[in-house]
Symmetry: C2
Subunit: 314 residues, 2 copies
């Protein structure tokens, strides 16, 4: 089938394109390189089943031209700001890149009669739920980051567009996603700091922040497995790993993989890394496990693989 991957030059999107092409699909990618990179898709440029448009999804005229021309069967929406720390200082980033991109894609699907949709949502929609195993049925969703707010708003849009236009929508709520092609986040920061100055490691917060980290290839496998949604309306899963990695553990893994020893850790203090960061989070994954999927790599293992990859790249 012919599919659109919006945000396909990004970290997750580019891996998804690899899998969609491997399955034999025709893949069109739209990306504006806001966070995505040419490097992530340069290996695809000669593939006759791949086509790339460099444009902003919120440029309505250009977006409609692509829909008019390409006749998509499925839209995978992975375009968003993914740097929560950046938007904490400038919330308009989320309005433009995370919420409005969803609105524009759904409007185009409505106009051009596209009926299948995948959306990359996030555990950040739940807000602070410390001490709970958070299932999809969690009430009182209270995002504390502008990122989580824009994603929850996007889910609400999808709900209405799905109902009003008979769109089948698959929504995964991801935790932190790591692996090859990662561009930012705690692992990156630690490697960079230790390369710059291996005499000590500065750690945001008190180091006990503890969250699940999923390996990007496990996540893409889940999208591929569940993308042919049978049910009408919205199908929504928490997608993650059952274990968590603390920031202290991540530091230990980075230090070990870099062959360093005895690095003193300097904690900036406080329970979270920055305001808007949920310090502790864990999922109830029984719904997706019951549906026949489980991550191949647990959280610490994903961290270790990612550290190796980051070190190889630099």
């Amino acid at each position: 089938m012919k599919v659109l991957v919006a945000g396909g030059a990004g970290f997750i999107g580019s891996h998804l394109i690899d899998s969609l092409l491997a399955e034999g699909n025709d893949v069109v990618c739209i990306d504006n390189f806001f966070i995505g990179t040419k490097k992530n898709i340069e290996h695809l440029m000669d593939n006759p089943k791949f086509k790339f448009y460099e444009q902003n999804l919120c440029d309505r005229e250009k977006l409609e031209a692509v829909f008019e021309k390409e006749n998509f069967e499925y839209v995978f929406h992975l375009a968003a700001n993914s740097d929560i720390q950046a938007s904490a200082n400038d919330p308009a980033i989320e309005y433009e890149n995370t919420y409005s991109t969803t609105f524009e894609l759904l409007q185009a699907m409505r106009k051009y009669d596209v009926k299948k949709f995948f959306f990359a949502s996030t555990s950040a929609v739940y807000g602070e739920k410390e001490g709970k195993n958070v299932s999809e049925d969690e009430p009182n969703l209270r995002p504390i980051s502008y990122y989580g707010a824009a994603k929850l708003g996007s889910e609400a849009l999808i709900s209405a567009y799905s109902y009003m236009n008979d769109i089948k929508a698959l929504i995964f709520r991801f935790p932190n996603v790591i692996g090859p092609r990662l561009t930012h986040g705690v692992i990156f920061d630690f490697v960079k700091r230790l390369k710059d100055d291996p005499s000590h490691l500065r750690i945001l917060g008190d180091g006990t922040q503890c969250k699940p980290y999923i390996y990007v290839l496990d996540l893409v496998e889940a999208i591929m497995q569940f993308k042919d949604v049978k049910d009408t309306g919205i199908t929504l899963y928490n997608l993650g790993v059952s274990t968590q990695s603390s920031v202290k553990t991540i530091a230990d893994i980075v230090v070990d993989k870099m062959g360093l020893t005895g690095i003193p850790y300097e904690y900036t203090g406080g329970k979270g890394g920055w305001k808007g960061d949920v310090p502790k989070f864990q999922y109830d994954l029984s719904k997706i496990h019951a549906a026949g999927w489980k991550a191949k790599h647990e959280s610490d293992e994903s961290v270790a693989l990612t550290v190796e990859n980051v070190l190889k790249m630099n």
Copy 2:
């Protein structure tokens, strides 16, 4: 205190301004007359404690100029599209008038350090929950209208802005609101149809659609009673009446108040009035009742009062 009522020339907003002025506050109103009318606020124009700006909330430069000049203590956000049937045909109405107005107001509050916020939300955020008494703790909110989606997205924004900027926010989820200054909806439609042609009455759906109707003055009283939020973060209540009125009952009341008899009803059929309309809904109001508020008028009584008012106006 000096307050902003956004959407203050509208049906609910203008009643709220009357009450805020009666309490001695300085009230600034912004409205673009998209749905609001000059008539709703003309009685205030000579009041020295009232000030009006005719502008679109999404005109950022103008909005910031008002915030810069007026130094608000409290923002009441009642600006939105309220005609769900209209936006069913043009969802962009909700993106612009319901969601983006919330975003722009919160951005201005963030910039100008305003710490108190009231938001008019809606039962439409819940979606179809037939057979349930829906409490604030209802999980899996799935709006089926673009209106409900934009309101749920707005709530998500408020959650993040509240957390990130220490804003105290009061959110009421209203059912259908009726009373003086109403401009559209089923009561209006019935009166108009019977005035145009009293030989019969066309009724959308099968007439069993059944929802709570709250009288606008009861609702405004609740806003006044709860507006001085003590708790930090978000305080959210379902706000409504414990009873419901069926569309058939509303027709009976209209026919009766117009002094007509023996009008044949012609049902268009189907369970809902139009796609995106939640046909049956009832609230669990125990939270707001426990907090010391109860509507003075039940649903049928609110309908009767509103019919009388609509007939007087015409």
